[in-house]
Amino acid sequence: MQNISENKQLDEFELDQLKEVINIGASHASTALSQLVKKRIKVTMPEIHVAKVEEMVEIIGREKEVITAILLKILGEAPGSIVYIFPHNKSTCELISMISGREVDIKKTFSEFDISVLKEVGNILAGASLTAFSKFLDVNLLQSVSDAITDMLGSVINTLAVEIAVGSDVALIFRVSFQIEGREECPELFFFIDPSSTSVILESTRQKIVNK
């Protein structure tokens, strides 16, 4: 079995498989978002990073920018985390308005109501992704309740890095950006896969290929 905490190497083919699996999840999430806001959504191809836990902040960047992060834990046979990063810009304000019907003032910090709208967006998108993952991989996955935090992006990512560091020296990060038609980029979606889950995911994709 692949153990990437010992060995940073996953080969091209395996990385491509993981990327494809994430892509399925991300496109389901974007479909859900598109239905939610009744607009077309552009999704980027997942960017994949295999990095030391200490390097996560650098990879994700924008350390000092204050953002709102929605975190959901993936529980079950292939654990991991899903994090949505909402920058405090016009697009996020518009997203909240589109869903809630209330105006959001960009000059103010997000209210509790605004945050709960974002949490709900996180829930719906994660639900869509996980259902897709479960179906495709044929594994049981559950999502935790969502948690929200507004703070510097670097501090948020480092806190996640610490959680990952408990079990592994290496983190597997997938980054996807959503763009609502005609708006700036918003939000970003990160999947952090527990290194122990990579073998589960790769094994079930391998089974799929063999059975075809």
Partner: protein, 165 residues
């Protein structure tokens, strides 16, 4: 002229005289500043976890040969040991070494119960290790649920902690 060193998580930096060490993105990790005010010697450690529980191999030496005054560890206990020894090597006096702590927040409160609050464990580990070494903690800006950035001036042991929320 002031020398400026910026460290990331998992790094240690130290120096003598007019040196400023800064670090960003402090969450549940912990930043330990050790200093000897009399001799103007000090350093900073930005650690992620209390101890190397799995006894994994640590890469404590310089990763980039061009970089001076830096070491690497993710762990609080070994990091404090390394930094403390380095300060003594630079000429600090044992009795004069003091500490300041920053960080150890519990940022995602609803998902992590007390048992799993690594921030808290990091603070405890630092306090205990400093206690063993007989280093007094002069100030603490720890716990809570927010992120911080820190700048430490070795010449006068001034520590600036910044929050954005």
């Amino acid at each position: 002229m002031q020398e400026k060193i910026s460290i990331k998580v998992g790094e240690i930096a130290y120096g003598k005289g007019n040196v400023k060490i800064s670090t960003d993105s402090i969450g549940s990790c912990i930043v330990v500043c050790l200093y000897d005010k009399v001799n103007h010697i000090g350093g900073m450690l930005h650690a992620m976890l209390p101890i190397n529980s799995a006894n994994k191999k640590e890469d404590i030496i310089k990763k980039n040969p061009g970089e001076k005054n830096k070491m690497y560890t993710k762990y609080v206990v070994s990091g404090i040991d390394l930094l403390y020894k380095k300060l003594l090597e630079l000429g600090a006096e044992k009795q004069a070494i003091k500490a300041k702590l920053v960080g150890g927040a519990a940022m995602f409160k609803s998902l992590i119960d007390d048992e799993h609050a690594i921030g808290n464990k990091n603070i405890e580990a630092a306090r205990q290790k400093l206690g063993e070494l007989g280093v007094a903690i002069k100030s603490e800006d720890t716990g809570g649920n927010i992120g911080r950035t820190a700048e430490f001036f070795i010449a006068n042991a001034v520590l600036n902690v910044n929050t954005k929320i």
